[in-house]
């Protein structure tokens, strides 16, 4: 169950799993996990206190993504603040709607579930910044994609649009 809550927050649940997870959130244990994870989420977004007791998975995620969240790193990625703000907004939307649904502890109105699902989906789509796709995979993919042939020289726009992030020596 806790893993499902974590995956819900990551926006990784499919529709059927989401329904099950929302139903299970009515139990006290699940709520405890839900609340804990959001406290952790607040820490990740820099809106909470210390990070004591953060589960390993979140600690790892935190370690892997500090450049996205730390304000000083944003100077190197001028194109990202808007998207990041969007992701935060979407996250807050997801947390608000899903959180309210879970806390109500009564029969969940279907439209709230729909909203939660939409918010969770949006968040999944926006959770990471427009990042460096692995260049070798991208090249291998473009060899076969019809989109490459359609766009001609325009294909390289995607490659150079992200190449600005090349680390300085």
């Amino acid at each position: 169950m806790n893993e499902n809550i974590s995956r819900l927050m990551d926006g990784e649940l499919d529709d059927a799993e989401l329904d099950r997870c929302l139903a299970e959130l009515k139990s006290a244990d699940a709520m405890q996990a839900w609340v804990s994870y959001h406290v952790i989420g607040d820490h990740l977004r820099g809106t909470g206190g210390g990070a004591r007791g953060v589960p390993a998975r979140f600690a790892a995620a935190l370690a892997a993504e500090p450049t996205v969240l730390a304000p000083h790193a944003r100077a190197h990625r001028p194109a990202q603040p808007a998207t990041f703000a969007w992701a935060v907004a979407a996250t807050i939307a997801a947390v608000t709607v899903v959180g309210w649904t879970a806390f109500s502890m009564v029969d969940v109105p279907p439209n709230a579930v729909a909203k939660a699902r939409e918010a969770a989906t949006v968040r999944a789509a926006q959770v990471k910044p427009p990042a460096e796709l692995p260049a070798d995979y991208l090249m291998a993919h473009q060899e076969y994609s019809p989109a490459t042939a359609i766009h001609g020289g325009g294909t390289y726009l995607r490659a150079v649009a992200t190449a600005g992030a090349e680390p300085r020596p």
Binding site: D10, E12, D14, A60, A64, P78, A79, A82, T83, T121, A124, A125, Q126, V127, K128, P130, A131, L133, P134, A135, D136, Y137, L138, M139, A140, H141, Q142, E143, Y144, S145, P146, A147, T148, A149, I150, H151, G152, G153, G154, Y156, L157, R158, A159, V160, A161, T162, A163, G164, E166, P167, R168, P169
Partner: protein
């Protein structure tokens, strides 16, 4: 008795009308499919065969950048130069099958072999059929882009697993002058458009050569590329392939930067492709989850001892669905 007598011919008549209508509908849809395939072939040929130069405005989400593109077809040998006009200086030069990417601020040049398999003149009958079975293909009149008269065509998806594609192609040459990707809500995911273009100009070979005749000595030369692929059964099964996507390649790829061979499977619906990469999991790989760069979405997940990465010009939910369905046969 009269009823019975007249009912039979009426039923026959109805069936006959049905057959004629069905044939007309099938004929019309086949004609539409052929029209879509012809349009795609013309556009891709124009991009390769013509000489042109112009300014491109490229938009990914909220981010807008401008580039200068010059393309020369020198007796069948293609030269292409793309230079960024704002943001960090970047320059890409393609000559034949080699691509060089110059990043002067980082003092890096990337040199990569590049093979483009142009699929369009050789789309299979199945792929041509899929194009109009899973997209509504429509020509919606004309417009002017960069001072040129263009035709507008739209591929509207019939499900949420693909993006909508809108194209503006030069009426007399077929060259693509503007392209837009839209999501289910009609929001623009990615767009490029020429703001000015010069078609079939006399292009001096010097103008498609790199700004650096030789690589400066203090620059770092990075050689990479997609490596060679040997087509073969990889032993992997992809469970949730969206309808209309057919497998166009399966093989084992040796990527220059990776110690282990990578299984590579490609599916295409005739307009875009989805690549599935499977490699042994190593602890240094941390990029798990979803990554998006404009029209490209990538989802990486761990499946036991393997790392599964799905990449394609499709919505995030589509790559995620596929990544979670990859399993050993």
């Amino acid at each position: 008795m009269m009823h019975q007598g007249s009912a039979v011919p009426r039923a026959v008549l109805r069936a006959a009308i049905g057959v004629v209508l069905l044939a007309a509908v099938l004929g019309a849809s086949r004609a539409r499919a052929q029209d879509a395939a012809t349009w795609l072939t013309e556009v891709t040929q124009a991009a390769r065969l013509l000489n042109y130069s112009g300014t491109i405005v490229f938009r990914q989400g909220n981010r807008v950048e401008t580039f200068r593109l010059t393309h020369l077809n020198d007796n069948g040998q293609e030269w292409e130069k793309l230079v960024s006009l704002d943001g960090p200086a970047r320059e890409i030069v393609r000559s034949g099958n080699e691509v060089r990417q110059y990043l002067p601020e980082a003092k890096v040049v990337r040199i990569e072999p590049r093979t483009i398999r142009n699929v369009f003149p050789s789309l299979s009958a199945e792929q041509i059929g899929n194009l109009t079975q899973f997209y509504n293909f429509r020509r919606i009149g004309g417009e002017r882009i960069a001072g040129q008269t263009v035709d507008i065509v739209v591929f509207e998806p019939k499900d949420g697993l693909r993006y909508a594609h809108k194209f503006w192609s030069h009426t007399s040459t077929g060259l693509l002058l503007k392209a837009r990707l839209l999501n289910e809500k009609g929001e623009i995911i990615e767009e490029f458009a020429f703001s000015d273009v010069s078609l079939n100009p006399k292009i001096d070979k010097e103008s498609v050569k790199p700004s650096w005749a030789t690589v400066p000595p203090d620059w770092q030369v990075k050689r990479g590329g997609p490596g060679e692929v040997v087509q073969n059964d990889t032993g992997w099964n992809v469970g949730k392939v969206p309808p209309g996507f057919t497998k166009i390649m399966e093989g084992i790829r040796k990527l220059p930067g990776k110690p282990n061979p990578v299984a590579h499977i490609v599916y295409s619906d005739g307009l875009v492709a989805i690549s599935i990469f499977i490699e042994p999991f190593t602890v240094t790989q941390t990029q798990i989850g979803l990554t998006q760069a404009g029209g490209l979405a990538q989802y990486t997940t761990r499946s036991d001892a393997f790392l599964v990465t799905v990449l394609g010009e499709v919505p995030p939910a589509t790559v995620r669905q596929i990544a979670q369905s990859v399993a050993r046969r």
